[in-house]
Symmetry: C2
Subunit: 220 residues, 2 copies
DNA sequence: GACCAATTGAACTATCCCGTACAATTGGAA
DNA sequence: TTCCAATTGTACGGGATAGTTCAATTGGTC
């Protein structure tokens, strides 16, 4: 008669296995982001995220505390990315008109290319931006984008190509609205009007329209 | 000795109480709408809706089948309302420029005055407009708004006040984007830029900007 | 008044789902 | 090697949650 071995040869992942906390974090974050983007904060399931990770649910709680902590981390990463994008623009090198056109085009493209970001912002707004408010990593007041626009706008005023009386915030809101809406409301636009804004032709057409609209708004 | 009354005086709601299915439906719908708008589809709780109703949870399932059926009913009502609003506009009576300005102003106001509608549309888009797609009561193709714009646009072309080459869809998308974004993203705008778009002064300023922007877009 | 279909109430269930207890393993410091 | 703190796996608990069961009540019709 053979007794079962006392330790039933519990398999290690590989012969000699190294810990990789950063890798684990990144893996979890990527999966979590996809789940939150797809299902929202309430709709996402921690068990589902864990299952799609190469790690166990225990890790999520170890690294992120709870579901909201995980969501906050996803949100922080998304905002960090767009801040990086914004900083990468060098509008000061361009004449005012071209600067505004370039900014609008890039903003439009960033939104169209990153629907995940757009959906996260939608989800966060459904929650009244409660997590943006409590996050310590997301600097609450981000005025660099506005400052960039102000610099260009004043240059355009000085050169006499822009009309007076505009608020940089207003310019920013217009650019954002024209970039955000097509992506955020893509599904309902398709249902109600039968137009697929994600199709290359429609997207390109809309992009040109956005740039033209913003230029007509600011130019004399 | 007095025996307890055979039926222990189970209290009727009032002396003589009448059934009112339509009232029950309306009551449930109003409460459900508030809950869905506040918490989203996944976040809303049927028990919570039932508790805030003057009826029991049983009624919700009796009249609406399940949670999604209730949500669909809320959505259908919201879309029915904005269709009514759209039909109430009589742009044909106005000269083209004024017609576009009026349409933009009214659309802006409708969104600002009905954040519930805006949030429902956001929520529906998070769910990829799946319920808009399956609803039988919401006519999937709603082209009346587009047709209205096309009529005005062609009138403006004929009179030589509008520039050529625009797509009515594009005009509609621009008006919608400029009306929707301030409301849908109100919370994140406040967090990130410290601006409260719901404040009367900011709202009025933005309204004027939207009208001006659309006019500059379409006019020669 | 009797009967039936529409409506309603109260308690219940099965499942889902977030989070935790506890033990085990690992890497590195001494 | 030894020991400790940082990680990680397994199994489970407790409460929330959508939806149901079953019977009772109601209003209208004959």
């Amino acid at each position: 008669m053979v007794t079962a071995p006392p330790v039933p040869a519990k398999r290690r992942k590989s012969a000699s296995w190294t810990q990789d906390p950063e890798g684990v974090r990144r893996d979890i974050l990527a999966v979590a982001r996809a789940e939150f983007v797809e299902n929202g904060l309430s709709g996402a399931r921690v068990d589902e995220i864990a299952a799609k990770t190469s790690n166990s649910k225990r890790m999520i709680y170890y690294y992120f505390g709870d579901k909201e902590g995980l969501y906050r981390a996803v949100l922080e990463e998304a905002y960090a990315r767009i801040r990086t994008f914004e900083r990468s623009l060098d509008l000061a090198a361009l004449p005012p008109r071209e600067a505004i056109a370039t900014l609008t085009g890039f903003t439009f493209d960033y939104h169209a290319d990153n629907p995940d970001f757009v959906r996260l912002v939608m989800i966060e707004n459904i929650h009244h931006a409660r997590h943006l408010a409590t996050s310590t990593k997301i600097s609450v007041l981000n005025l660099s984008a506005i400052d960039m626009i102000r610099e260009v706008y004043e240059r355009g005023l000085a050169e006499g190509v822009f009309r007076e009386g505009l608020d940089p915030i207003d310019i920013h809101l217009t650019i954002s609205a024209l970039s955000f809406y097509n992506v955020s409301n893509q599904a309902s636009i398709r249902q109600v009007f039968g137009h697929d804004m994600a199709a290359p032709a429609a997207r390109e057409r809309r992009r040109r329209s956005a740039i033209e609209t913003v230029l007509r708004m600011v130019c004399r």
